[in-house]
């Protein structure tokens, strides 16, 4: 493993192949690698296999575009700004997408196994639920648990007896090792050391679990700066393969210390995503209608962006109107 390579957004998009298994940094509508997600849609990627601890606006951008074949996760929506994941729902109900449900903690278990180089991880979370109903194993129904795809385990989960302390039955969750981790980070050093502000979500685990890692950096800073407080960093330079320096690249999701969630933008997207035609019209304007991240930012406009800019002390914007009062 060498030093992370600096590339452009278009080059990053071109690395992803149709059918690849992807996972993401962030949590629902926070720190998602949105600029790269838009680029994947612009480049017309198909049949993507998403494994994610939870979904969000980025999932819906990909699902609405018809880019997703398999979605393994536990949740999708836009938090307060859109209560459902309409694209995933349409995909599941119309059967154009294979949806494999896990619980949040079970999905974390799968990622932990992948991150730590273990074939599985044990958990007692969410036993006795229909998530474990063998008749609802959708990848098995689709004939994809035959071992031919190295990214799909032969079983959704298994039940084991604790062999050591007589705790009884426990679930074993198979490792998830995506082809790619698509990550948005607050700061990346010029040697690749990575830092995120505030909650770490599962960002470090996604990086370790994936075969290759692309990071969109809000800013690239001298590594020596990050190394002066190493306890705040969550990944080493040698674990990251590619870096794209791209301010505002998590928009409309939020980035602690840099900008808040763009609630109005997500509400508009959610409203459009309720039909295929609505999504297509939205994508025509915000994805295909702009050729670059810079054009996207220009279209958003500085006044909108400045309203979202985080207060340097609090880490979030104090100027966005969030409620009815």
């Amino acid at each position: 493993m060498g030093k992370a390579e600096r590339i452009t957004l278009k080059e990053a998009g071109a690395l992803i192949q149709d059918g690849d298994m992807l996972s993401f940094s962030g949590f629902t509508i926070w720190r998602r690698p949105m600029a790269l997600v838009y680029e994947l849609v612009r480049q017309g990627k198909k049949n993507l296999h998403l494994f994610e601890v939870n979904g969000g606006t980025h999932t819906e951008v990909l699902a609405g575009a018809g880019a997703v074949k398999i979605w393994e996760s536990c949740w999708v929506g836009h938090e307060l700004y859109g209560k459902l994941g309409e694209g995933v729902a349409r995909g599941q109900c119309e059967k154009s997408m294979i949806v494999e449900d896990y619980s949040h903690g079970q999905a974390v278990a799968r990622l932990l196994a992948g991150a730590y180089g273990l074939p599985f991880f044990p958990t007692a979370l969410s036993m006795g639920t229909d998530i474990l109903n063998p008749q609802y194993d959708m990848l098995k129904i689709a004939g994809l648990r035959d071992g031919s795809n190295p990214k799909i385990p032969r079983q959704k989960y298994t039940v084991s007896q604790d062999p050591f302390y007589d705790m009884g039955e426990i679930l074993l969750m198979p490792a998830a090792n995506p082809n790619w981790a698509l990550v948005y980070a607050s700061q990346v050093g010029d040697e690749g050391t990575m830092r995120v502000n505030a909650q770490t979500y599962t960002d470090a685990e996604v990086i370790k679990a994936a075969d290759k890692v692309i990071v969109l950096a809000e800013e690239v800073v001298p590594d020596s700066y990050l190394r002066s407080e190493p306890e705040k960093n969550i990944a080493t330079g040698y674990s990251i393969d590619y870096v794209v320096e791209l301010p505002w690249s998590a928009h409309p999701t939020g980035s602690q210390g840099f900008y808040d969630v763009d609630a109005d933008f997500i509400r508009n997207f959610y409203s459009a995503s309720k039909s295929k035609a609505g999504y297509d019209k939205w994508a025509e304007e915000w994805i295909f209608g702009v050729d670059s991240h810079e054009q996207y930012l220009e279209k958003l406009g500085i006044i909108n962006l400045e309203k979202l800019r985080a207060n340097k002390v609090l880490g979030y914007s104090t100027r966005v109107k969030r409620g009815s009062r």
Binding site: A124, M127, V159, D166, Q199, G254
Partner: protein
């Protein structure tokens, strides 16, 4: 803040959502480690911390541990959650380092449908293999419900939401299928030595429900303005109303003032 006015508000002086938040807050025991989701759960824990449980702490599943937000978060991943937190960690810490290892006393959760055993559906409407509608999915709901000592559901009371059987068991109540076989048994048998408790109360816009020794739901208190029969009429199953202990205590003026002036002054969840 002026002197605490602990008089009870009268009908028409508070909204149903206010009573939901207040009734939920009253479930918090001082010192509880509380796992809360987005929305009303946040209001409940923050109100409880200000009224009756100053030593209760809050964990959000995105990884903030014992945060002391000065602005109400709009989701559990919000930057605001981590303000003055003892740790700004991640999901591995929240789900395994806090929940699985046994710190969590109480959790507030929500759901689209619930059955008489407290099993909750947040996944699909209809047959899972041919769904009519997809909801958000499980999130951390079933994990938290599995291993917190006590959980409280905050829900909307409607006949179609209180069902004999839910379409999909997303979150575990008191009687559950034991997989891979699927035979229905008590939660204790599914969880064995991992068993720590389960659903303690369900709070709706009409009443507060609890569960008997068999794990069956019964009506405990009715909210002012409703009769037990009206609540029963808004359940699809044969609700036990023989154990009603009285009327739900309305919010005090002090609680309402805290809710609107300190907890949610921006009107994010309280319109």
């Amino acid at each position: 803040m002026t002197a605490k006015n602990n008089e009870l508000a009268k009908a028409g002086e508070y909204k149903p959502i206010d009573l939901l938040a207040v009734a939920a807050a009253r479930e918090v025991v001082d010192g509880d480690i509380v796992f809360a989701g987005t929305g009303l759960p946040m209001l409940a824990i923050m109100l409880a911390q200000k009224v009756s449980a100053p030593n209760a702490v809050c964990i959000y599943e995105a990884g903030s541990i014992d945060g002391r937000p000065i602005d109400l978060p709009t989701s559990v991943g919000d930057a605001r959650c981590a303000h003055q937190a003892s740790m700004a960690a991640g999901l591995t810490e929240a789900f395994y380092g806090q929940l699985h290892c046994g710190y969590v006393d109480l959790a507030f959760l929500g759901g689209a449908e619930i059955d008489q055993y407290g099993n909750v559906n947040t996944t699909v409407v209809g047959d899972y293999l041919n769904p009519e509608k997809r909801f958000t999915g499980s999130g951390g709901n079933p994990d938290i419900n599995a291993l917190a000592k006590r959980t409280v559901f905050i829900m909307v009371q409607e006949k179609r939401r209180f069902r004999e059987h839910v379409d999909y068991i997303t979150s575990p109540g008191w009687r559950l299928p034991k997989w891979p076989g699927g035979e229905f048994v008590h939660k204790r048998e599914v969880y064995g030595k991992f068993f720590r408790g389960g659903v303690e109360a369900v709070i709706t816009n009409m009443g507060v429900f609890r569960f008997d020794e068999e794990g069956l739901m019964y009506l405990d208190t009715v909210h002012p303005g409703f009769t037990p029969q009206q609540v029963k009429d808004n359940c699809s199953f044969d609700l036990n109303i023989s154990r009603v202990s009285g009327e739900t205590k309305p919010p005090t003026y002090y609680e309402l003032e805290l809710l609107y002036k300190e907890v949610d002054p921006e009107g994010i969840f309280l319109p």
